[in-house]
Subunit: 406 residues, 2 copies
């Protein structure tokens, strides 16, 4: 892979927010020439990528997405990444979760790769969280519904498997080649980061819109425009310089080092992606004292990398977009960094979009606490003992499980 070095970095306290980097080649070959001279384009060779894939878990949150799409996504994920599927698909009237397990099992049978699947509502999971006093992920006696909750479960499983990095890829992608590029971008960003606390966010080159006339290759999604505007407004307010640095406020596809991931507070539902940025700026931006002074020295690197592949995915409809917009803007609204004037603008946009009516105010966010303090050995023990939906596939993983676990 060949891609730009970051050309510009906005520094906000300990947070280093880099401008969008462009990918030039998906496969940069084995020829050695390139490294010899001073370059502004970074060549990342197959060996570097492969080594990073071995430390990376790809988490796929899924909720009734089409199985053909899931299978395509799986085929695009590099073999050496650990696949973790966290499913919130219903088990009745048709057991969708079981069908997902069967699909995964069949796929693994032919490729013999490491893959784990678990159902979000598994009572065993909830018991583990109860016993380990990690209750912010629960609602009653089960794990709360929501994409964020699934992602946190995935991260805990990645941590228990000893992975150093986690990446997220949605299950509704039409293009296996794009999925493969995401994973390569995750690894490239990890390799280019200077801090152990790193995040890589995918910026899509195009989000094609379909009409009867064919395609229109739109540059930005409809939600991202709003989310990015307000995230940039937050930063501009504190630095005193206008900025457009954030282009990936709603990046469903993103990756983090485990060291960073376990320190973050997550917001439930669809606000998880923008809230990660809000939370990082709150924690490490230097406006408020940090809970983690040791990290202030190392810095937090946020890279934004633009794909070569356009983003062809399932159209989830207007209602879904409205919910995404609401959740994205609510989480910015709720930040202790948010000024009165930004709050007013957000309320105006929400009312103009028909999302808030009358005198209603944004609701309280459901926040999931950092999982750093969760006893991971205990978590592994309980999950393996009591999660009846936990499936571990691949000959390597099954063997590893026999020796390491319980």
């Amino acid at each position: 892979m060949k891609l730009d070095f970051p050309r510009y970095t906005e520094r906000f306290g300990a947070v280093n927010l880099s401008s969008v980097q462009r990918v030039y080649e998906l496969d940069s070959g084995k020829s050695e020439e390139y490294h010899k001279t001073h370059q502004t384009v970074r060549k990342i060779c197959d060996e570097e990528l492969a080594e990073t894939f071995g430390k990376l878990a790809i988490i796929i949150p899924i909720k009734s997405e089409k199985l053909k799409l899931l299978e395509g996504v799986l085929s695009g994920i590099p073999h050496d990444c650990l696949v973790i599927i966290v499913s919130n698909s219903p088990r009745q009237p048709v057991d969708r979760f079981k069908i997902e397990c069967d699909t995964l099992n069949q796929f693994v049978h032919f490729v013999d790769r490491d893959a784990i699947i678990v159902q979000q509502k598994d009572p065993g999971l909830a018991e583990a969280f109860q016993e380990l006093a990690y209750k912010s992920i629960l609602e009653g006696n089960r794990v709360r519904d929501g994409k964020a909750e699934g992602m946190v479960i995935g991260m805990l499983i990645a941590k228990m498997m000893g992975k150093e990095y986690v990446g997220f890829i949605d299950a509704d992608n039409y293009i296996p080649g794009a999925v493969n590029e995401y994973a390569r971008i995750f690894a490239a960003g990890i390799l280019m980061s200077h801090s152990p606390y790193s995040m890589v966010r995918i910026s899509w080159i195009y989000k094609p819109k379909v009409s009867q006339d064919g395609f229109y290759f739109a540059k930005w999604g409809r939600i991202s425009e709003f989310t990015n505007k307000y995230l940039n407004a937050l930063i501009s307010h504190y630095t005193g310089f206008g900025t457009e640095i954030i282009k990936t406020g709603n990046a469903g596809e993103h990756a983090m080092s485990m060291k960073l991931a376990e320190l973050l507070t997550y917001s439930s539902g669809f606000s998880i992606e923008p809230y990660e940025l809000v939370n990082i700026i709150e924690e490490f931006g230097g406006v408020f004292p940090s809970n983690y002074p040791e990290i202030i020295n190392e810095g937090v690197d946020i890279l934004q990398i633009e794909t070569r592949n356009p983003h062809f995915h399932e159209d989830k409809g207007e209602q879904h977009l409205k919910e995404m917009l609401r959740d994205s803007l609510f989480c910015i609204f709720s930040s202790k960094l948010c000024t009165q004037s930004i709050k007013q603008q957000i309320l105006k946009d929400l009312k103009a979009g028909g999302i808030l009516t009358g005198r209603k105010q944004p609701h309280q966010l459901n926040l999931i606490q950092p999982f750093k303090e969760v006893n991971i050995a205990e978590f592994a023990r309980i999950v393996k003992e009591r999660c009846s939906t936990l499936g571990m596939y691949g000959s390597n993983l099954s063997r590893q499980m026999e020796t390491v676990t319980l």
Copy 2:
């Protein structure tokens, strides 16, 4: 990359036509485990692919395709492949060819890869063919218009650059990741072939159709259905067993060993892809005596490999489809293998499709003779001296040119 071994092979004289092979993983990782046991799935590691890319030229025939698509296609082609663009884009009123050169030059500036571009109507090319008595590619004092003619020029340039394999990728592809997969499939097929005379044809998993309701993932293109039906009918007639082996009659994306490519006769225009199969069966199928008895011993391997990526490309409209159907069926009709009964069926389909009217008969094919006998050193000398449109980009290629050429 991980893909099936061919599960079934139809043997027709010296021609080995394998059933469609399925790709399981785009990137099969560096872990070694897999090779230890007996497998029906072949793992092809990065090193094997990279080595093959070094011997492979990717030829891109282009005629006024959108430059953003060309740039995307370039970004998907593995760095170690030699890119050869043969352009038949107009030079007036806007010099489209020059814009293509500029695009290529800018791209190469950032990635420093080997790339060659030439204009199909360059008088220097025509002079070379005149002097080397390779006149079947000419019409008057220029190279004839047509995709096949561009492809043959590309193959001659690949041969003069010492490449052992050529692959073809159309310039109208929306998905750089799919392009990357094509190149990986070409290399995988080459590595899996047992004969030095090999061809790899791409079968698309889906050809999505766009409507206002979104996508429908059709399994087959509209033309392929007819082309494949009649190619299979030809084979079935001679073997006496019904077959559906051919699924890639119109595969624009395909690759060949130079040893095979230089022996084939090519048909002008859009019939080039199906005619390659017709010509191989005529030459090596054993029904007629072969011009190349030495090859009968080695055999000709034709692999068909199904992508994981769907085929999203520019919709060229109904007229283009009709021309493709006409040319595809004409070239089967014209084969000396074609029986009266198959000819009757083809005429019926052409009339039903409104392509042939009244008592009209299919026109004569324009055939381009094998280029094996073209004196390649002389070709290189003339082309480099007289082709003013020939551009050779990349520091490696420019250096190589200085020492090796003229």
